[in-house]
């Protein structure tokens, strides 16, 4: 604990923040105390609504009109920021304390060139002329690892990739050698491999400049790999803070424990069953290709050739009865496209064999197929019709496929709800009266109403908080054990899929890279892309990457 002897750069002292709402005061932050010393990285971990972003805004003095600071102080280099005038804050922001945001595609002004946005901070805080700032900006871009800084300066944000943009944002944050930088989920909007690179860049620059960093994230695994010290925040209160290793190995607080337990850890398998590899496959996908779009009007007129967007290219795979097949890949890799093709939401070329029947188009998907193949979507908000009650939503599959057994409709709906650990009374509620996790449970109940043989889970946990995600995954596995349902589990979360899948299919740019058994996925024999993917994924601290 040598750092404590240093004077903290940023000192948050018993700080409380309220938001005034129509229904009374909402306590966003309660008696938060945090210190960050020079050169230190403090990780701040919390689920959505925990107040972690509110804290960032408080530090940056960027609070909405209904915010009330009800106690405590935030000090930068010993100066109370709350006592600064607006002009003084303007001089501090970007110069002494700066910030890196979650989504680089929205944090850059789309109509101004990258160079203009980088150089304006240099002109503002370091008094450089436009020309000097531009030259300096180029250097900064080179420093954050951009290959062609001069060209990059002249580009508009939409002409740069997500990773490049985030590098620009980071360059801007480091531009004036600030004392403190706040990183607010800087990699969440990026692909796995890109975010790994950004993370590496951050670590590198941080070591180089010794800037005090507050690293905000929902991802405990990520924080554990980056920060020295970590604080866990819940409902506006810091429930626990300390050294990463201490927190991970010996969490004192229940919530922390729960959070750590919920983090997917590839070392811990959650599924013991083994599907019968010799049985006839339940579903076989043969050379399925999906193209988006059609010839545009004018091209059709002129007869010009037109390149159609490819969603999938000749994907072939099979799922055994009762098997959990994980499909991983970056966004745009074609995972969801496949799911949509299999449920008749996208037209496709090629063939799907299900239970021995051949299906070559939507018209072949009869009620029997519909009943046997169910899909659950990513956002429960979007997949439940906001104007239907839960009971009504659950009654549809019963009506369509004729629920088994006796008992009234209401009874069956109650059973379905109980099956997913929801009270029977929820049948009378509307979706917006339910929490995110509850809604996803309803969606699961709807999928299982028809006792399907295959359930396609399309990123069903990625919109949820870690702890909720864990409980949903538990529910799914429980249902799988009971009904011996096969899953096509689509996700970008490699750690999670390694915990639950029997086999994992890796997709990249619409093509199937390879399929491997879950335990073999980290083997060095894997395809190049698979290996890069595995390497890029942070593994929670205290566990080894090659757990098996």
């Amino acid at each position: 604990m040598t750092e404590t002897t240093k004077t903290p750069v940023l000192q948050i002292d018993n700080y409380s923040l309220d938001y005034r709402t129509a229904t009374g005061a909402f306590h966003a932050l309660r008696n938060v105390s945090l210190d960050i010393t020079p050169g230190e990285i403090l990780g701040l971990v919390g689920e959505s609504g925990s107040g972690k972003t509110s804290l960032a805004w408080s530090i940056m003095r960027y609070l909405p009109g209904n915010a009330r600071e009800v106690g405590g102080a935030i000090r930068l280099g010993g100066e109370d920021l709350a006592k600064k005038s607006a002009a003084e804050i303007g001089a501090i922001r970007g110069k002494r304390i700066s910030m890196v945001f979650q989504d680089p595609s929205t944090s850059l002004n789309p109509t101004l060139s990258v160079g203009r946005q980088l150089s304006e901070v240099l002109m503002r805080h370091r008094g450089l002329t436009r020309k000097q700032a531009w030259a300096e900006g180029e250097e900064m871009l080179a420093r954050v690892g951009l290959k062609t800084p001069a060209q990059m300066m002249a580009r508009m944000p939409h002409e740069a990739s997500g990773g490049e943009k985030q590098r620009v944002v980071i360059a801007t944050a480091f531009a004036c050698n600030p004392e403190c930088i706040i990183f607010d989920e800087p990699t969440t909007a990026l692909d796995v491999i890109t975010s790994r690179q950004i993370l590496n860049l951050f670590v590198e620059l941080q070591a180089e400049t010794g800037v005090a960093s507050l690293y905000i994230s929902h991802d405990l695994a990520l924080v554990s790999r980056t920060a020295k010290r970590v604080a866990v925040i819940r409902r506006g209160e810091v429930v626990e803070q300390g050294e990463v290793s201490a927190i991970f190995h010996d969490p004192q607080n229940d919530y922390t424990r729960q959070l750590i337990a919920a983090v997917p850890n590839p070392a811990i398998r959650l599924v013991e069953s083994r599907p019968d590899a010799t049985a006839a496959p339940l579903v076989k996908v043969e050379n399925v290709s999906v193209h988006y779009g059609r010839k545009p009007f004018f091209a059709a007129l002129t007869g010009r050739a037109h390149e159609r967007v490819v969603g999938n290219r000749a994907v072939s795979l099979s799922v055994q009865p009762g098997e959990i097949l994980g499909i991983v890949g970056e966004s745009g890799s074609g995972k969801s496209t496949l799911a949509k093709a299999m449920t008749g939401l996208n037209p496709f070329e090629g063939k799907i064999w299900f239970d021995g029947k051949s299906i070559s188009g939507v018209s072949d998907m009869d009620t029997g197929y519909r009943k046997d193949v169910q899909i659950i979507f990513q956002h429960p908000d979007a997949s439940l019709n906001p104007r239907h009650r839960i009971g009504e939503i659950l009654s549809r599959p019963l009506k369509l496929y004729g629920g088994e057994g006796s008992g009234s409709q209401a009874q069956k709906i109650g059973d379905l709800l109980e099956q997913v650990s929801l009270p029977r009374s929820h049948a009378d509620r509307y979706p917006h009266q339910l929490s995110g996790g509850e809604k996803q449970r309803v969606a699961i109940a709807r999928a299982f109403a028809s006792k399907p043989k295959l359930v396609i889970c399309d990123e069903i946990t990625s919109a949820l908080d870690v702890s909720v995600q864990a409980s949903i995954v538990r529910l799914l596995l429980e249902l799988q054990r009971v009904h011996d349902t096969a899953y096509l589990f689509i996700t970008h979360d490699l750690n999670l899929v390694r915990q639950i899948a029997h086999r994992i299919a890796v997709m990249y740019h619409g093509e199937l890279v390879e399929i491997a058994r879950a335990e073999d996925i980290s083997s060095p024999d894997r395809a190049d892309y698979t290996r890069r993917l595995i390497e890029a994924v942070p593994i929670p601290a205290g566990t080894t990457a090659a757990a098996n």
Binding site: G90, T106, E120
Partner: protein
Amino acid sequence: MSPNYILKRIALIFYTLLVVSLIVFAITQILPADAAVMMLGENATDQALDALRQRMGLNDPVWMQYAHWLIGIVQGNFGTSLRTGQPVGPVMFEALGRSLLLALLSITFMLILAIPLGIIAAIRRGRVADMLVSLISYVGVSLPEFVTATVAVLLFADWLKWLPPTGYVPLTENFGSAIAHLTLPVFVISIILIAHVSRMVRSELIDVLHADYIRSARLKGLSGSSVLMGHALRNALLPTITIVALDVGYLLGGVIVVEEIFAIPGIGRQLIVAIQARDLPAIQAGVLIMAATYSIVNFLADMLYAALDKRIQYD
């Protein structure tokens, strides 16, 4: 913005005109008026009418009349007015010129007022200034032109005697007098547009001010005014190009009433006169020219927008 897109847009203009020509031709076909009777008047004998019908091709099948009419237009011949016996095209285009002058002045005047109002309302959101602008715009969009026109004439011409009540003086004849005559019409047309556009500017600017990149700019330490001028305004005002272009359709409608009241011989008044007199060739030409104007203005606005906003990638 690919050449393909531009070509597609131009093709769409022609499609638009084709559709409009069909609609207007259909309407004028059904209109209970006989072009020959219109031309010869009520004292014509049946023989004279029949001879004229023959000569005008009114006894031909409908599709043939349509084809002849369309071919004529392609050759720049919009037909002859049943009312005055003059060729319709030149009259309509001359009238269009006057209307466009009126429209252009109105848009300029409107922008000069609407943009600052919208900006003030947005940055003083929820304050008195915002409410005042809101109030003005709610009242503004709720007053039909003929009411504002009547009141404006009563107030500025009859009572205060600041401005001439109505009439039209060509710019080339007497510039000062021309502007004086145009002031009230421009004012009346602008009111609804000001109300509409200032609301649009306000909501666009509020949206932009809530955008992440504005927050980024503020958190880079930039002052409120430089964020507004350097980052927000440009992005908020770009969409108003399209809004203003869409408003041109409304403007052309408003011009009809305003021109009628202020006796401005623009295309709107020509159309009213033509409609009331059932002057079919004039109706056809007028509607077609109005639709073409609207399409071309929107095309130009899209091009301008695309040129100014590098983000837009049309395919």
